[in-house]
Amino acid sequence: MNMRRTVLTLAVLLLAWNAPAQDEITIRIKEGMPMIPVALPAFQINDAAVQKGDIPATIYETLWKDLEFSRIFKMVPREHYAYIPAFNPGSIRFKDWASLQANILISGQLEITADDRLIFSFKVYEVASERFIFGRNFGGKKDLARLIAHKAADELLKHFGEKPLFTSKIVYISESGNDRDVYIMDYDGHRPTRITFSSALDMLPSWSADNEKILYTSYRNLSPELFMFNIYSGKTELISSGGSNYAADWSPVGDRIVYTSSKHGNAEIYLKDMKTGQEKRLTFNPAIDTSPCWSPSGREIAFTSQRGGTPQIYIMDSEGSNIRRITMEGTYHDSPAWSPDGMRLAFVSRIENRFDIYIYNLKSNEISKLTENAGRNENPSWSPDGRHLAFSSNRGGRYQIYLVDYDGRNVQSITAAGENKMPKWQKSTK
Protein backbone atom coordinates (compact mmCIF):
# COMPACT_ATOMS: atom_id res chain seq x y z
CA MET A 1 0.00 0.00 0.00
CA ASN A 2 1.02 3.53 -0.67
CA MET A 3 0.91 4.51 2.96
CA ARG A 4 3.21 1.75 4.03
CA ARG A 5 5.75 2.71 1.42
CA THR A 6 5.62 6.28 2.68
CA VAL A 7 6.16 4.98 6.17
CA LEU A 8 9.36 3.24 5.21
CA THR A 9 10.63 6.14 3.14
CA LEU A 10 10.00 8.63 5.91
CA ALA A 11 11.60 6.39 8.46
CA VAL A 12 14.72 6.13 6.35
CA LEU A 13 14.85 9.76 5.33
CA LEU A 14 14.04 11.57 8.51
CA LEU A 15 15.17 9.34 11.29
CA ALA A 16 18.13 7.21 12.03
CA TRP A 17 18.15 5.09 15.13
CA ASN A 18 20.80 3.67 17.34
CA ALA A 19 21.06 0.12 18.52
CA PRO A 20 19.99 -0.20 22.15
CA ALA A 21 21.35 -2.85 24.43
CA GLN A 22 20.19 -6.31 23.42
CA ASP A 23 18.04 -8.07 25.99
CA GLU A 24 17.01 -11.65 26.51
CA ILE A 25 13.29 -11.31 25.89
CA THR A 26 11.98 -13.96 23.55
CA ILE A 27 8.42 -13.57 22.40
CA ARG A 28 6.49 -15.62 19.94
CA ILE A 29 5.73 -13.31 17.07
CA LYS A 30 2.20 -13.81 15.88
CA GLU A 31 1.97 -10.77 13.73
CA GLY A 32 1.48 -11.67 10.12
CA MET A 33 0.01 -15.07 10.92
CA PRO A 34 -3.15 -15.86 8.98
CA MET A 35 -6.34 -15.00 10.81
CA ILE A 36 -8.77 -17.75 11.77
CA PRO A 37 -12.05 -17.58 9.81
CA VAL A 38 -15.06 -17.61 12.14
CA ALA A 39 -18.73 -18.03 11.24
CA LEU A 40 -21.32 -16.57 13.58
CA PRO A 41 -24.84 -17.58 12.50
CA ALA A 42 -27.85 -15.81 14.04
CA PHE A 43 -28.58 -16.82 17.64
CA GLN A 44 -31.34 -19.19 18.66
CA ILE A 45 -33.77 -17.13 20.68
CA ASN A 46 -36.12 -19.05 22.94
CA ASP A 47 -38.19 -16.31 24.39
CA ALA A 48 -40.42 -14.52 21.94
CA ALA A 49 -40.14 -11.34 23.95
CA VAL A 50 -36.43 -11.21 23.34
CA GLN A 51 -36.99 -11.10 19.65
CA LYS A 52 -38.73 -7.77 19.96
CA GLY A 53 -36.04 -6.05 22.02
CA ASP A 54 -32.64 -4.95 20.78
CA ILE A 55 -30.73 -7.25 23.17
CA PRO A 56 -30.09 -10.06 20.66
CA ALA A 57 -28.80 -7.60 18.11
CA THR A 58 -26.64 -5.86 20.73
CA ILE A 59 -24.99 -9.11 21.80
CA TYR A 60 -24.60 -10.37 18.25
CA GLU A 61 -23.13 -7.14 16.88
CA THR A 62 -20.84 -6.60 19.88
CA LEU A 63 -19.49 -10.15 19.62
CA TRP A 64 -19.07 -9.78 15.86
CA LYS A 65 -17.20 -6.48 16.17
CA ASP A 66 -14.97 -7.82 18.95
CA LEU A 67 -13.87 -10.81 16.91
CA GLU A 68 -13.43 -8.70 13.81
CA PHE A 69 -11.30 -6.24 15.80
CA SER A 70 -9.07 -8.96 17.26
CA ARG A 71 -6.72 -9.52 14.30
CA ILE A 72 -6.79 -13.17 15.48
CA PHE A 73 -10.12 -13.98 13.90
CA LYS A 74 -11.62 -13.03 10.60
CA MET A 75 -15.38 -13.08 10.19
CA VAL A 76 -16.92 -15.07 7.35
CA PRO A 77 -19.26 -12.49 5.76
CA ARG A 78 -22.89 -12.79 6.81
CA GLU A 79 -24.15 -12.57 3.23
CA HIS A 80 -22.53 -15.90 2.51
CA TYR A 81 -24.64 -17.73 5.11
CA ALA A 82 -27.63 -17.47 2.78
CA TYR A 83 -25.98 -19.80 0.27
CA ILE A 84 -26.27 -22.77 2.61
CA PRO A 85 -29.27 -24.17 4.54
CA ALA A 86 -30.18 -22.23 7.69
CA PHE A 87 -28.09 -23.06 10.77
CA ASN A 88 -29.64 -25.72 12.98
CA PRO A 89 -27.83 -26.23 16.29
CA GLY A 90 -29.48 -29.66 16.60
CA SER A 91 -27.81 -31.07 13.53
CA ILE A 92 -24.93 -29.00 12.26
CA ARG A 93 -23.98 -29.51 8.60
CA PHE A 94 -20.25 -28.89 8.97
CA LYS A 95 -19.57 -29.53 5.28
CA ASP A 96 -21.74 -26.51 4.40
CA TRP A 97 -19.75 -24.27 6.76
CA ALA A 98 -16.51 -25.68 5.42
CA SER A 99 -17.67 -24.64 1.96
CA LEU A 100 -17.84 -21.05 3.26
CA GLN A 101 -14.19 -21.36 4.38
CA ALA A 102 -15.13 -21.23 8.05
CA ASN A 103 -12.68 -22.85 10.47
CA ILE A 104 -14.60 -22.03 13.62
CA LEU A 105 -18.36 -22.02 14.04
CA ILE A 106 -20.07 -20.33 16.97
CA SER A 107 -23.55 -21.33 17.99
CA GLY A 108 -25.24 -18.85 20.31
CA GLN A 109 -28.42 -19.19 22.31
CA LEU A 110 -30.20 -16.44 24.18
CA GLU A 111 -33.07 -16.32 26.63
CA ILE A 112 -34.56 -13.96 29.14
CA THR A 113 -35.81 -15.49 32.38
CA ALA A 114 -39.03 -14.65 34.16
CA ASP A 115 -37.15 -12.36 36.56
CA ASP A 116 -35.72 -10.44 33.61
CA ARG A 117 -32.26 -11.94 33.63
CA LEU A 118 -30.33 -12.62 30.50
CA ILE A 119 -28.78 -16.03 29.78
CA PHE A 120 -26.41 -16.30 26.86
CA SER A 121 -24.85 -19.65 25.97
CA PHE A 122 -22.43 -20.25 23.19
CA LYS A 123 -20.78 -23.32 21.79
CA VAL A 124 -17.64 -23.30 19.70
CA TYR A 125 -17.06 -25.92 17.00
CA GLU A 126 -14.13 -26.73 14.81
CA VAL A 127 -15.50 -27.12 11.32
CA ALA A 128 -12.82 -29.34 9.74
CA SER A 129 -12.86 -31.97 12.48
CA GLU A 130 -16.60 -31.50 13.02
CA ARG A 131 -16.17 -31.44 16.75
CA PHE A 132 -17.31 -29.39 19.71
CA ILE A 133 -14.38 -27.48 21.24
CA PHE A 134 -15.84 -25.66 24.23
CA GLY A 135 -18.87 -23.79 25.47
CA ARG A 136 -19.81 -21.22 28.11
CA ASN A 137 -22.92 -19.81 29.71
CA PHE A 138 -23.23 -16.22 30.86
CA GLY A 139 -25.97 -14.75 33.01
CA GLY A 140 -26.65 -11.19 34.04
CA LYS A 141 -29.01 -8.27 34.12
CA LYS A 142 -30.45 -7.18 30.81
CA ASP A 143 -28.43 -3.95 30.71
CA LEU A 144 -25.19 -5.95 30.76
CA ALA A 145 -25.70 -7.26 27.23
CA ARG A 146 -22.54 -5.63 25.87
CA LEU A 147 -20.43 -6.89 28.76
CA ILE A 148 -21.74 -10.43 28.25
CA ALA A 149 -20.77 -10.29 24.58
CA HIS A 150 -17.29 -8.98 25.48
CA LYS A 151 -16.84 -11.78 28.01
CA ALA A 152 -17.85 -14.37 25.45
CA ALA A 153 -15.35 -12.93 22.95
CA ASP A 154 -12.63 -12.96 25.63
CA GLU A 155 -13.32 -16.64 26.31
CA LEU A 156 -12.65 -17.36 22.66
CA LEU A 157 -9.37 -15.41 22.83
CA LYS A 158 -8.30 -17.29 25.95
CA HIS A 159 -9.06 -20.60 24.31
CA PHE A 160 -6.64 -19.72 21.54
CA GLY A 161 -3.93 -18.84 24.05
CA GLU A 162 -4.43 -15.09 23.82
CA LYS A 163 -4.80 -12.50 26.57
CA PRO A 164 -8.34 -11.24 27.18
CA LEU A 165 -8.92 -7.88 25.55
CA PHE A 166 -12.59 -7.09 25.07
CA THR A 167 -13.45 -6.55 28.72
CA SER A 168 -10.54 -4.12 29.07
CA LYS A 169 -11.24 -0.46 29.68
CA ILE A 170 -9.77 2.86 28.73
CA VAL A 171 -9.44 5.79 31.12
CA TYR A 172 -9.38 9.23 29.51
CA ILE A 173 -10.18 12.91 29.90
CA SER A 174 -13.44 14.23 28.55
CA GLU A 175 -14.21 17.89 28.15
CA SER A 176 -17.61 19.41 27.88
CA GLY A 177 -17.89 23.13 28.50
CA ASN A 178 -15.26 24.16 31.02
CA ASP A 179 -15.15 20.79 32.75
CA ARG A 180 -12.32 18.42 32.09
CA ASP A 181 -12.83 15.24 34.04
CA VAL A 182 -11.65 11.66 34.22
CA TYR A 183 -13.88 9.08 32.54
CA ILE A 184 -13.70 5.32 31.98
CA MET A 185 -15.16 3.50 28.98
CA ASP A 186 -15.13 0.06 27.39
CA TYR A 187 -12.34 -0.49 24.88
CA ASP A 188 -14.82 0.13 22.05
CA GLY A 189 -15.94 3.50 23.40
CA HIS A 190 -19.25 2.31 24.82
CA ARG A 191 -20.52 2.72 28.36
CA PRO A 192 -18.58 5.87 29.35
CA THR A 193 -18.62 6.57 33.07
CA ARG A 194 -17.52 9.80 34.67
CA ILE A 195 -15.37 9.35 37.76
CA THR A 196 -14.15 12.80 38.79
CA PHE A 197 -16.46 15.74 39.37
CA SER A 198 -14.29 18.76 40.06
CA SER A 199 -14.74 21.98 38.15
CA ALA A 200 -10.95 22.22 37.88
CA LEU A 201 -8.74 20.82 35.18
CA ASP A 202 -8.00 17.07 35.46
CA MET A 203 -5.44 15.42 33.19
CA LEU A 204 -3.19 12.48 32.32
CA PRO A 205 -4.95 9.57 34.06
CA SER A 206 -3.39 6.09 34.30
CA TRP A 207 -4.39 2.67 35.66
CA SER A 208 -2.97 0.78 38.60
CA ALA A 209 -1.71 -2.73 37.86
CA ASP A 210 -4.81 -4.22 39.54
CA ASN A 211 -7.13 -1.87 37.62
CA GLU A 212 -8.70 -0.70 40.88
CA LYS A 213 -7.08 2.70 41.15
CA ILE A 214 -6.45 5.61 38.85
CA LEU A 215 -3.69 8.16 39.18
CA TYR A 216 -4.36 11.54 37.66
CA THR A 217 -3.34 15.17 37.92
CA SER A 218 -5.82 17.78 39.07
CA TYR A 219 -5.62 21.57 39.45
CA ARG A 220 -8.39 21.54 42.08
CA ASN A 221 -6.10 23.12 44.71
CA LEU A 222 -4.80 25.64 42.18
CA SER A 223 -1.64 23.72 41.41
CA PRO A 224 -1.14 20.50 39.46
CA GLU A 225 -1.09 17.75 42.10
CA LEU A 226 -1.09 13.99 41.70
CA PHE A 227 -4.12 12.15 43.09
CA MET A 228 -5.12 8.51 43.36
CA PHE A 229 -8.76 7.57 42.97
CA ASN A 230 -9.96 4.18 44.18
CA ILE A 231 -12.76 3.05 41.88
CA TYR A 232 -14.32 0.68 44.40
CA SER A 233 -14.09 2.70 47.62
CA GLY A 234 -14.61 6.03 45.86
CA LYS A 235 -11.81 7.53 47.95
CA THR A 236 -9.35 10.08 46.59
CA GLU A 237 -5.86 10.38 48.04
CA LEU A 238 -3.23 13.06 47.46
CA ILE A 239 -0.05 11.35 46.25
CA SER A 240 2.31 14.20 45.40
CA SER A 241 2.21 17.99 45.61
CA GLY A 242 4.55 20.95 45.35
CA GLY A 243 5.39 22.27 41.90
CA SER A 244 3.81 20.28 39.06
CA ASN A 245 3.07 16.57 39.52
CA TYR A 246 1.97 14.55 36.51
CA ALA A 247 2.51 11.76 33.97
CA ALA A 248 2.36 8.90 36.47
CA ASP A 249 2.80 5.24 35.52
CA TRP A 250 2.40 2.15 37.73
CA SER A 251 4.98 -0.58 37.82
CA PRO A 252 3.77 -3.87 36.30
CA VAL A 253 3.73 -5.49 39.74
CA GLY A 254 1.79 -2.54 41.10
CA ASP A 255 3.93 -1.77 44.12
CA ARG A 256 5.60 1.37 42.79
CA ILE A 257 4.83 4.36 40.61
CA VAL A 258 7.01 6.71 38.59
CA TYR A 259 5.95 10.26 37.82
CA THR A 260 7.21 13.72 36.96
CA SER A 261 7.47 16.37 39.64
CA SER A 262 9.03 19.80 39.98
CA LYS A 263 8.63 19.76 43.76
CA HIS A 264 12.33 20.58 44.08
CA GLY A 265 12.33 23.20 41.35
CA ASN A 266 12.94 21.33 38.12
CA ALA A 267 10.92 18.70 36.25
CA GLU A 268 12.47 15.40 37.40
CA ILE A 269 11.36 11.79 37.55
CA TYR A 270 10.50 10.29 40.91
CA LEU A 271 9.79 6.77 42.01
CA LYS A 272 7.41 6.16 44.88
CA ASP A 273 6.87 2.94 46.79
CA MET A 274 3.09 2.82 47.26
CA LYS A 275 3.31 0.52 50.29
CA THR A 276 5.90 2.37 52.34
CA GLY A 277 5.32 5.82 50.82
CA GLN A 278 9.08 6.15 50.32
CA GLU A 279 10.18 8.34 47.47
CA LYS A 280 13.33 8.25 45.39
CA ARG A 281 14.43 10.79 42.84
CA LEU A 282 15.67 9.08 39.66
CA THR A 283 16.90 11.95 37.47
CA PHE A 284 19.34 14.72 38.35
CA ASN A 285 19.60 16.99 35.38
CA PRO A 286 18.84 20.70 35.01
CA ALA A 287 17.00 19.95 31.76
CA ILE A 288 13.38 18.80 31.58
CA ASP A 289 12.87 15.11 32.41
CA THR A 290 9.32 13.83 32.05
CA SER A 291 6.84 11.18 30.79
CA PRO A 292 8.25 8.10 32.57
CA CYS A 293 6.94 4.71 31.49
CA TRP A 294 7.76 1.23 32.89
CA SER A 295 8.97 -1.62 30.77
CA PRO A 296 6.72 -4.67 31.20
CA SER A 297 9.57 -6.42 33.03
CA GLY A 298 9.70 -3.60 35.58
CA ARG A 299 13.46 -3.40 35.18
CA GLU A 300 13.61 -0.32 32.94
CA ILE A 301 11.93 3.04 32.52
CA ALA A 302 11.57 4.94 29.25
CA PHE A 303 11.26 8.71 29.56
CA THR A 304 11.61 12.01 27.76
CA SER A 305 14.52 14.32 28.43
CA GLN A 306 15.60 17.61 26.99
CA ARG A 307 19.18 17.14 28.27
CA GLY A 308 20.50 16.94 24.71
CA GLY A 309 18.89 20.26 23.79
CA THR A 310 15.60 18.93 22.45
CA PRO A 311 13.09 16.45 23.90
CA GLN A 312 14.27 12.91 23.07
CA ILE A 313 13.39 9.43 24.33
CA TYR A 314 15.76 7.76 26.79
CA ILE A 315 15.77 4.49 28.72
CA MET A 316 17.19 4.03 32.19
CA ASP A 317 17.29 1.17 34.66
CA SER A 318 14.51 1.44 37.21
CA GLU A 319 16.97 2.68 39.87
CA GLY A 320 17.87 5.63 37.65
CA SER A 321 21.21 4.34 36.40
CA ASN A 322 22.45 3.34 32.95
CA ILE A 323 20.72 6.12 31.03
CA ARG A 324 20.89 5.70 27.25
CA ARG A 325 19.36 7.72 24.46
CA ILE A 326 17.00 5.96 22.07
CA THR A 327 15.95 8.58 19.52
CA MET A 328 18.90 10.13 17.72
CA GLU A 329 17.36 12.24 14.99
CA GLY A 330 14.43 14.59 14.88
CA THR A 331 13.92 17.46 17.28
CA TYR A 332 10.87 16.53 19.29
CA HIS A 333 9.78 13.19 20.74
CA ASP A 334 7.62 12.51 23.79
CA SER A 335 4.98 10.27 25.37
CA PRO A 336 6.82 6.92 25.22
CA ALA A 337 4.63 3.84 25.70
CA TRP A 338 6.17 0.41 26.12
CA SER A 339 4.42 -2.46 24.34
CA PRO A 340 3.24 -5.36 26.53
CA ASP A 341 5.74 -7.75 24.90
CA GLY A 342 8.57 -5.40 25.85
CA MET A 343 9.87 -5.20 22.31
CA ARG A 344 8.48 -1.92 21.06
CA LEU A 345 8.22 1.69 22.12
CA ALA A 346 5.45 3.86 20.73
CA PHE A 347 5.95 7.61 21.00
CA VAL A 348 4.95 10.94 19.48
CA SER A 349 7.25 12.80 17.11
CA ARG A 350 6.82 16.32 15.93
CA ILE A 351 8.11 16.93 12.43
CA GLU A 352 7.36 20.31 10.88
CA ASN A 353 4.47 20.94 13.24
CA ARG A 354 2.85 17.59 12.56
CA PHE A 355 2.45 15.14 15.41
CA ASP A 356 2.53 11.51 14.46
CA ILE A 357 2.91 8.30 16.39
CA TYR A 358 5.88 6.10 15.61
CA ILE A 359 6.76 2.62 16.78
CA TYR A 360 10.37 1.76 17.45
CA ASN A 361 11.28 -1.91 17.58
CA LEU A 362 13.90 -2.30 20.29
CA LYS A 363 15.09 -5.61 18.94
CA SER A 364 15.38 -4.90 15.22
CA ASN A 365 15.94 -1.13 15.60
CA GLU A 366 13.31 -0.58 12.93
CA ILE A 367 10.96 2.33 13.08
CA SER A 368 7.52 2.52 11.58
CA LYS A 369 5.09 5.39 11.37
CA LEU A 370 1.70 4.52 12.77
CA THR A 371 -0.32 7.61 11.91
CA GLU A 372 -0.13 9.51 8.69
CA ASN A 373 -0.12 13.31 8.81
CA ALA A 374 -3.73 13.57 9.82
CA GLY A 375 -4.02 16.32 12.43
CA ARG A 376 -2.16 16.05 15.70
CA ASN A 377 -1.82 12.52 17.03
CA GLU A 378 -0.87 12.19 20.67
CA ASN A 379 -0.66 10.05 23.81
CA PRO A 380 -0.34 6.52 22.41
CA SER A 381 -1.32 3.67 24.74
CA TRP A 382 -1.09 -0.06 23.97
CA SER A 383 -3.90 -2.58 24.28
CA PRO A 384 -3.27 -5.41 26.76
CA ASP A 385 -2.46 -7.79 23.88
CA GLY A 386 -0.15 -5.33 22.11
CA ARG A 387 -1.99 -5.60 18.79
CA HIS A 388 -3.72 -2.23 19.03
CA LEU A 389 -3.13 1.26 20.33
CA ALA A 390 -5.38 4.03 21.52
CA PHE A 391 -4.41 7.64 20.89
CA SER A 392 -6.00 11.06 20.67
CA SER A 393 -6.16 13.10 17.50
CA ASN A 394 -7.70 16.32 16.29
CA ARG A 395 -7.83 15.05 12.67
CA GLY A 396 -11.60 15.47 12.67
CA GLY A 397 -11.63 18.93 14.28
CA ARG A 398 -11.86 18.46 18.02
CA TYR A 399 -9.74 15.94 19.86
CA GLN A 400 -11.25 12.46 19.94
CA ILE A 401 -9.93 9.05 20.91
CA TYR A 402 -8.99 6.64 18.14
CA LEU A 403 -7.91 3.03 17.97
CA VAL A 404 -5.42 1.69 15.45
CA ASP A 405 -3.80 -1.69 14.89
CA TYR A 406 -0.06 -2.12 15.47
CA ASP A 407 0.53 -1.93 11.70
CA GLY A 408 -1.46 1.26 11.13
CA ARG A 409 -4.59 -0.49 9.86
CA ASN A 410 -8.20 -0.16 10.97
CA VAL A 411 -8.13 3.37 12.34
CA GLN A 412 -11.45 4.18 14.01
CA SER A 413 -12.70 6.84 16.38
CA ILE A 414 -14.43 5.58 19.49
CA THR A 415 -15.61 8.91 20.94
CA ALA A 416 -17.65 11.66 19.35
CA ALA A 417 -19.23 14.02 21.90
CA GLY A 418 -17.33 17.03 23.25
CA GLU A 419 -13.58 16.64 23.31
CA ASN A 420 -11.84 13.47 24.49
CA LYS A 421 -8.14 12.84 24.94
CA MET A 422 -5.27 11.28 26.92
CA PRO A 423 -6.43 7.66 26.66
CA LYS A 424 -4.75 5.01 28.80
CA TRP A 425 -5.67 1.42 28.12
CA GLN A 426 -5.60 -1.07 30.99
CA LYS A 427 -2.37 -3.03 30.89
CA SER A 428 -4.21 -6.29 31.47
CA THR A 429 -7.67 -7.62 32.18
CA LYS A 430 -8.84 -10.85 33.77
Binding site: R180, M203, S244, Y246, G265, A267, T290, P311, M422
Partner: protein
Protein backbone atom coordinates in the same frame (compact mmCIF):
# COMPACT_ATOMS: atom_id res chain seq x y z
CA UNK B 1 -18.12 52.32 29.24
CA UNK B 2 -16.88 55.84 28.86
CA UNK B 3 -16.43 55.47 25.14
CA UNK B 4 -19.92 54.16 24.81
CA UNK B 5 -21.31 57.11 26.63
CA UNK B 6 -19.40 59.59 24.49
CA UNK B 7 -20.63 57.84 21.41
CA UNK B 8 -24.22 58.12 22.55
CA UNK B 9 -23.73 61.79 23.26
CA UNK B 10 -22.05 62.41 19.95
CA UNK B 11 -24.77 60.61 18.05
CA UNK B 12 -27.39 62.39 20.10
CA UNK B 13 -25.86 65.78 19.40
CA UNK B 14 -25.65 65.08 15.69
CA UNK B 15 -29.25 63.97 15.72
CA UNK B 16 -30.25 67.04 17.66
CA UNK B 17 -28.51 69.48 15.35
CA UNK B 18 -29.69 67.81 12.20
CA UNK B 19 -33.18 67.73 13.62
CA UNK B 20 -32.98 71.42 14.57
CA UNK B 21 -31.44 72.48 11.29
CA UNK B 22 -33.56 70.66 8.82
CA UNK B 23 -36.85 69.92 10.39
CA UNK B 24 -37.01 72.14 13.42
CA UNK B 25 -40.76 72.28 13.46
CA UNK B 26 -41.18 68.56 13.21
CA UNK B 27 -41.50 65.60 15.54
CA UNK B 28 -41.11 66.79 19.09
CA UNK B 29 -40.72 63.31 20.70
CA UNK B 30 -37.32 62.80 19.06
CA UNK B 31 -35.87 65.80 20.84
CA UNK B 32 -36.90 64.98 24.37
CA UNK B 33 -34.61 62.00 25.16
CA UNK B 34 -31.74 63.81 23.51
CA UNK B 35 -31.89 66.60 26.05
CA UNK B 36 -31.98 64.16 28.96
CA UNK B 37 -28.90 62.28 27.77
CA UNK B 38 -26.74 65.35 27.77
CA UNK B 39 -26.54 65.42 31.56
CA UNK B 40 -24.68 62.15 32.01
CA UNK B 41 -21.42 62.94 30.24
CA UNK B 42 -21.05 66.10 32.25
CA UNK B 43 -20.65 64.00 35.36
CA UNK B 44 -18.24 61.69 33.53
CA UNK B 45 -15.98 64.44 32.36
CA UNK B 46 -15.77 65.89 35.82
CA UNK B 47 -14.45 62.65 37.29
CA UNK B 48 -10.96 63.31 38.61
CA UNK B 49 -8.04 61.44 37.09
CA UNK B 50 -6.94 58.94 39.73
CA UNK B 51 -3.34 58.45 40.66
CA UNK B 52 -1.78 54.99 40.43
CA UNK B 53 -2.10 54.62 44.20
CA UNK B 54 -5.74 55.64 44.19
CA UNK B 55 -6.49 53.23 41.37
CA UNK B 56 -4.75 50.46 43.29
CA UNK B 57 -6.81 51.24 46.39
CA UNK B 58 -10.05 51.49 44.50
CA UNK B 59 -9.87 48.44 42.25
CA UNK B 60 -10.59 44.91 43.32
CA UNK B 61 -8.17 42.06 42.57
CA UNK B 62 -10.38 41.00 39.68
CA UNK B 63 -10.37 44.49 38.22
CA UNK B 64 -6.61 44.86 38.55
CA UNK B 65 -6.09 41.56 36.75
CA UNK B 66 -8.73 42.26 34.14
CA UNK B 67 -7.17 45.63 33.35
CA UNK B 68 -3.79 43.91 33.06
CA UNK B 69 -1.97 46.21 35.44
CA UNK B 70 0.81 43.65 35.04
CA UNK B 71 1.40 42.95 31.36
CA UNK B 72 1.99 39.46 30.03
CA UNK B 73 5.15 38.50 28.16
CA UNK B 74 5.64 36.15 25.20
CA UNK B 75 8.25 33.56 24.32
CA UNK B 76 9.94 32.05 21.29
CA UNK B 77 8.82 28.65 19.95
CA UNK B 78 10.03 25.79 22.17
CA UNK B 79 12.03 28.29 24.27
CA UNK B 80 11.81 29.62 27.78
CA UNK B 81 14.52 32.28 27.70
CA UNK B 82 13.31 35.88 28.21
CA UNK B 83 13.23 37.74 24.88
CA UNK B 84 15.03 41.09 24.79
CA UNK B 85 11.85 42.91 23.72
CA UNK B 86 10.01 41.53 26.77
CA UNK B 87 12.52 42.86 29.29
CA UNK B 88 10.96 46.35 29.38
CA UNK B 89 7.60 44.79 30.25
CA UNK B 90 9.18 42.79 33.05
CA UNK B 91 10.93 45.94 34.26
CA UNK B 92 7.58 47.79 34.36
CA UNK B 93 5.95 44.85 36.16
CA UNK B 94 8.83 44.77 38.65
CA UNK B 95 8.56 48.53 39.25
CA UNK B 96 4.88 48.23 39.97
CA UNK B 97 5.36 45.23 42.25
CA UNK B 98 8.15 47.01 44.12
CA UNK B 99 5.88 50.04 44.56
CA UNK B 100 3.01 47.99 45.95
CA UNK B 101 4.98 45.74 48.26
CA UNK B 102 1.91 44.09 49.77
CA UNK B 103 1.02 42.49 46.45
CA UNK B 104 1.50 38.77 45.91
CA UNK B 105 1.61 37.46 42.39
CA UNK B 106 1.20 34.12 40.61
CA UNK B 107 3.03 33.73 37.31
CA UNK B 108 1.23 31.38 34.93
CA UNK B 109 3.33 29.71 32.24
CA UNK B 110 1.53 28.78 29.01
CA UNK B 111 2.44 27.13 25.71
CA UNK B 112 1.10 27.06 22.21
CA UNK B 113 -0.49 23.84 20.98
CA UNK B 114 2.59 22.63 19.13
CA UNK B 115 3.85 20.48 21.94
CA UNK B 116 2.79 17.35 23.78
CA UNK B 117 0.69 17.67 26.92
CA UNK B 118 3.39 16.29 29.22
CA UNK B 119 6.31 18.24 27.81
CA UNK B 120 4.33 21.47 27.67
CA UNK B 121 3.62 21.35 31.40
CA UNK B 122 7.36 21.34 32.00
CA UNK B 123 7.98 23.98 29.33
CA UNK B 124 5.29 26.29 30.73
CA UNK B 125 6.82 25.89 34.15
CA UNK B 126 10.26 26.81 32.81
CA UNK B 127 8.73 29.96 31.29
CA UNK B 128 7.06 30.97 34.53
CA UNK B 129 10.31 30.28 36.36
CA UNK B 130 12.33 32.35 33.89
CA UNK B 131 9.92 35.26 34.45
CA UNK B 132 10.20 34.88 38.22
CA UNK B 133 13.99 34.75 38.08
CA UNK B 134 14.05 37.89 35.97
CA UNK B 135 11.81 39.74 38.44
CA UNK B 136 14.06 38.56 41.26
CA UNK B 137 17.09 39.91 39.41
CA UNK B 138 15.35 43.29 39.45
CA UNK B 139 15.14 43.23 43.22
CA UNK B 140 11.80 41.55 43.81
CA UNK B 141 11.43 39.09 46.67
CA UNK B 142 10.98 35.78 44.84
CA UNK B 143 9.25 34.28 47.86
CA UNK B 144 6.21 36.42 47.12
CA UNK B 145 6.02 35.15 43.56
CA UNK B 146 4.44 31.76 42.98
CA UNK B 147 4.46 29.96 39.65
CA UNK B 148 2.14 27.50 37.94
CA UNK B 149 2.14 25.87 34.52
CA UNK B 150 -0.97 25.15 32.49
CA UNK B 151 0.96 23.77 29.51
CA UNK B 152 -1.23 24.09 26.45
CA UNK B 153 -4.52 23.63 28.28
CA UNK B 154 -5.44 27.35 28.41
CA UNK B 155 -4.66 29.02 25.10
CA UNK B 156 -5.39 32.76 24.99
CA UNK B 157 -6.68 32.69 21.43
CA UNK B 158 -7.72 29.79 19.21
CA UNK B 159 -5.82 30.65 16.02
CA UNK B 160 -3.47 28.26 14.24
CA UNK B 161 -1.06 30.80 12.73
CA UNK B 162 2.26 32.03 14.11
CA UNK B 163 0.71 35.27 15.39
CA UNK B 164 -1.77 33.29 17.51
CA UNK B 165 0.87 30.82 18.65
CA UNK B 166 3.03 33.77 19.74
CA UNK B 167 0.16 35.17 21.82
CA UNK B 168 -0.34 31.76 23.43
CA UNK B 169 3.34 31.24 24.35
CA UNK B 170 3.20 33.48 27.36
CA UNK B 171 3.65 34.16 31.03
CA UNK B 172 0.75 35.92 32.76
CA UNK B 173 1.07 37.78 36.02
CA UNK B 174 -1.96 37.23 38.21
CA UNK B 175 -2.29 39.35 41.35
CA UNK B 176 -3.44 37.05 44.13
CA UNK B 177 -3.26 39.44 47.08
CA UNK B 178 -3.32 43.23 47.41
Amino acid sequence: MKKWMLLVVAVSLVLMFSACGKKAAQVAPVQEPVVEKVEEPVAQVEKPVLSEEELFQQKSLEELNRDQILKRINFDFDKYEIRDDMKAILQANANWLLKFASVEVLIEGHCDERGTIEYNIALGEKRAEAARNYLASLGLNAAKVKIISYGKSKPLIPGVDEASYFQNRRAEFVITKK
